[in-house]
């Protein structure tokens, strides 16, 4: 009986425009087991799980639950089949309490149990169908019982906006258990947690398994996967490559399956010397306009020619805001920013760009591209006014076309209709290459890159890594923000760790390792840091 399947997804195919996200995929989850779905970013993990949860309908393929074919066309169907999912970005109402969030959509309704039979009938019918007065007392009892049973300690009366990410995740888990879901899907649950919190989370998973839940755990972090899972299904480029039992395989084997070839993180150390300061940030302070909380607190550092300086840290510790402050997306409350010894703090964005600031933004859809513009329109977005591309308000289409087709060739940007392809229809990797190409071709002294490889396939990641390293060789200054420790360790010349808006540690890659960075990133350790380094040769 232990070998029977809780969920079988057979021959699932899903296409978005020209992109085949899932190609004839088979996923089988055994009852009471934890199945890991591993794959690089963009391999199709989230898509197939969204199909199981009813967010997308597959173009073809069938889903079976307990051996019976089912149709899941929306999350309500999934809910009825007791399939629950914790998304990468939590689906909680910030201004509701934890308890309200847990029961939302599945509220326990008050039952009148007093005398007068006809009144009881009327009232209960009315309340069930119209009034829907919530029985918080009963709901609280039910939720508390779940908390006890699974050891998920949360404060039910706090508002979600006031609790930590870890607590929010627990809230999501309780939400699934409250709905008596027995198939639980976790989409990259540990991405937002610190090393210490991850251990706690894995313990919760083991508890859930002990209670007989079947779990799908999406991750690309093999340490965790090998820690708790029973089987691993490896996905690559929308296809299921293999499904293996954890006990009979190794991390190296899985990792090789995931990328399709040997992984090579280029660790190319700098050979030259850092000559001349390009960017100098002094006492940068920023305040969140809504909450009035200080999000960047007196941050100072510099970036010199020929070095890659990385701001590392867990998401949301002020790295993003530092970059927003430097590039001019957000207002700063204090501090100076010097670019090539010129104070650019009060410059407009256009002036900053002209002064020599190139920026690969974190959110390429929001800040990097106009998605409904073509490749060529996007490729000139921050330089269309240059005499090469326009004269007397008229765009010089011929020059633009020549420049863009050169750019597409040089950066290997692929599209269906050459320069006139609408960017929205292109893959993430090609979209990112447009931005990278656009910014690097401006040939500025400073390049700021925020998570430049987020959500890209391994080929594009390598291309972008090589481009960054080449820029360093050409004596450019590079400021990188990354959440991925492997990237941080392999590319940086200096690592600055940020925690709660401050720089709490500075390392060279030789000094640093995952565990040490983890301690600083989670706030367990901190140093006094002077991150402004003099040039080795002025």
């Amino acid at each position: 009986m232990s070998d029977s399947y809780a969920i079988e997804m057979l021959g699932i195919t899903k296409r978005f425009g020209n992109i085949l996200a899932n190609d004839n995929m088979d996923i089988r989850l055994k009852k009471g087991h934890i199945l890991a779905i591993c794959g690089e970013n963009g391999a199709g993990k989230s898509t197939i799980m969204s199909i199981l949860f009813g967010l997308y309908e597959p173009d073809s393929g069938i889903i079976k639950k307990d051996g019976v074919e089912v149709k899941i066309s929306n999350p309500n169907d999934a809910n009825k089949l007791r399939i629950g999912m914790v998304h990468q970005h939590f689906k909680l109402v910030d201004t509701f309490t934890v308890l309200q969030n847990i029961i939302l959509g599945d509220e326990t309704i008050n039952q009148y149990t007093g005398p007068l039979n006809w009144f009881k009938k009327c009232f209960n019918w009315l309340n069930k169908n119209v009034l829907r007065i919530i029985d918080y007392k009963k709901a609280r009892e039910e939720v508390s019982e779940i908390i006890e049973r699974y050891g998920l300690q949360v404060d039910l009366d706090k508002k979600v906006k006031d609790i930590s990410v870890e607590m929010q995740q627990k809230t999501e888990i309780i939400k699934m258990l409250y709905r008596k879901n027995d198939i639980l899907i976790f989409d990259e649950p540990t991405a937002v947690l610190t090393e210490q919190e991850i251990q706690g989370f894995l313990e919760i998973l083991r508890n859930l398994k002990r209670e007989g839940k079947s779990i799908i755990f999406i991750s690309h972090k093999l340490n965790e996967v090998f820690d708790v899972c029973d089987e691993i299904t490896v996905i690559r480029q929308g296809k299921c490559v293999d499904t293996l039992e954890v006990k009979q395989t190794t991390k190296e084997a899985i990792s090789a399956l995931m990328v399709g070839r040997k992984v090579s993180m280029p660790i190319k150390k700098r050979h030259g010397e850092c000559q001349g300061e390009v960017l100098r940030v002094e006492h940068l302070t920023m305040v969140d306009p809504l909450t009035k909380k200080t999000i960047v607190n007196d941050v100072s550092f510099n970036v010199r020619r020929g070095e890659i300086v990385t701001l590392a840290g867990i998401d949301g510790n002020g790295q993003r805001e530092v970059i927003y402050g430097i590039t001019g997306i957000s207002k700063t409350q204090g501090g100076t920013i010097l670019l090539n010894h010129q104070d650019i703090s009060s410059f407009s964005t256009r002036e900053k760009i002209k002064a020599g600031l190139a920026h690969i933004p974190e959110d390429r859809h929001k800040h990097g591209l106009v998605l409904d513009y073509s490749v060529s329109e996007n490729a000139i977005l921050d330089r269309y006014y240059e005499p090469e591309f326009s004269k007397f308000l008229l765009l010089n289409q011929r020059n633009i076309k020549r420049y863009v087709s050169g750019l597409m060739e040089k950066y290997d940007i692929r599209s269906s209709d050459d320069e006139s392809t609408i960017v929205r229809s292109m893959s993430g990797g090609n979209q990112q290459k447009i931005i990278v190409g656009r910014e690097i071709e401006r040939d500025t002294d400073l390049l700021i890159a925020v998570q430049p490889t987020r959500g890209l396939d391994i080929g594009s990641i390598e291309t972008i890594h090589n481009i960054l390293l080449k820029q360093r060789e050409q004596n450019k200054a590079i400021l990188l923000v990354s959440l991925e420790l492997d990237q941080v360790l392999s590319l940086s010349d200096r690592i600055l760790v940020m925690y709660e808006g401050e720089i709490v540690g500075e390392f060279t890659p030789d000094q640093a390792n995952r565990e040490l960075l983890g301690l600083y990133m989670s706030g367990a350790k901190r140093d006094e840091v002077n991150a402004i380094k003099e040039s080795e040769h002025e």
């Binding site: 929001k366 106009v370 326009s390 765009l395």
Partner: protein, 379 residues
């Protein structure tokens, strides 16, 4: 035969072709619904009513009459074209110009005083009307960029402010107000403020409301087309409209471009007023509702696929139907039947995007099928 088929299917894949097809569908469906309504009101005369709506000037037997009314329809389509261009420019900047009526009204005020009152040269009056419309429109634009007030709300409120402002000021000034007819003085054919006919009236059986305005509006439509196709101004406006964050990040000021777009848009609404009043056809009447043309402009803009050249045709179509509608009153129909048809078209024009999406989907389905066929053949 196959090549012709190939040609058409490749043509169908073009976005512009899809827009044209869906717009034609909307127009056709609008007419069908209109016909059904005519059938409900008066089944016997419905056929004749519909043919006069569709035929408009063609129902006249006399050739001169035909030309005269054809000229009138053309001349009345011109301001509508300007109005739909006004909607279109704002739309490209990501804004919905529901305040076009107000901008039009303010321009009417300027035209009445400078044209009918002071008898100034037509081009001066026209430019002043455009400036007035632009300034009025920029109020909503400024509220949007500096205080994040929704332009739809402020536009609607400015419509009413403009309406009562114009009603009040005009009716209180004897120099511009004809109190016996309770309307503003019309600009006469001999007036300096009358747009020259440049001999075009001769082509339309001496209908003097046809004139230079017809040429100007075509020039303006082409200018707007060029603006968005070829110039950095249009490039900036569209970038700011499609993705304001990315525009800001690239150093394209969202504030500047919204103000520019609202100014151009308001100027076009003012231009519409100028085309409507400076040909001596009509003038401002006391009214309790903002001028209808501002809203007809919206339907014309959408029916025209939000394309500067497309709106020329859609505006003419709407004007054609409206004019035709005014001819069926003696059959026992209200002229508003034409309004019903255009309203149905407005609703359907919202479906232009939807229908396009349907066409795209069926295309993908075809692709998938052909892929699976190829795969199947491989096995």
């Amino acid at each position: 035969m196959n090549r012709i088929k190939m040609f058409f299917s490749s043509l169908l894949k073009k976005d512009a072709a899809k827009t044209v097809i869906t717009s034609l569908w909307c127009a056709l469906l609008g007419l069908i619904v209109g016909f059904l309504i005519l059938l409900c009101i008066n089944a016997q005369e419905a056929g004749y009513g519909m043919s006069s709506i569709m035929g408009n000037f063609l129902i006249f037997k006399n050739a001169d009459n035909r030309l005269d009314y054809f000229g009138q329809t053309l001349a009345k389509a011109a301001p509508l074209i300007a109005m739909s261009l006004s909607i279109l420019v704002c739309y490209k900047a990501g804004l919905f110009n529901l305040g076009a009526s107000g901008q039009y009204s303010v321009a009417v005020l300027v035209i009445s005083f400078m044209g009918a009152g002071a008898n100034l040269p037509w081009w001066l009056v026209m430019v002043a009307a455009m400036i007035a419309g632009a300034l009025w429109s920029m109020i909503a634009g400024a509220l949007k960029v500096f205080f994040n007030v929704n332009e739809v709300i402020s536009g609607i409120m400015l419509n009413w402010i403009a309406l009562y402002l114009v009603n009040g000021i005009l009716s209180a000034n004897a120099t511009v107000w004809d109190s016996t007819h309770s309307e503003a003085f019309t600009i006469s054919g001999e007036s300096n403020a009358h747009i020259p006919t440049i001999g075009l009236d001769k082509l339309f059986a001496g209908n003097s409301i046809v004139g230079l305005g017809m040429v100007l509006i075509l020039v303006v439509a082409i200018a707007i087309f060029v603006l968005f196709k070829k110039t950095t101004i249009g490039y900036e406006i569209k970038a700011a409209g499609l993705n304001g964050d990315a525009a800001d990040y690239a150093g394209i000021s969202k504030v500047k471009n919204i103000l520019i777009a609202t100014a151009i848009s308001g100027a076009l609404a003012g231009f519409a007023a100028s085309l409507n009043l400076q040909n001596g056809f009509t003038s401002w009447r006391l009214s309790s509702a903002p001028p209808l043309i501002g809203f007809q402009g919206i339907s014309a803009a959408f029916l025209g696929g939000l394309h500067p050249i497309g709106v020329i045709f859609s505006s003419y179509f709407i004007e054609h139907v409206t004019e035709g509608g005014s001819m069926i009153t003696d059959l026992g129909f209200a002229p508003e039947v034409a309004s019903i048809i255009t309203s149905v078209i407005i609703y359907l024009s919202g479906f232009v995007a939807f229908l396009k999406e349907m066409m795209r989907k069926s295309e993908i389905k075809e692709q998938l099928e052909s892929i699976s066929r190829i795969k199947g053949a491989g096995k």
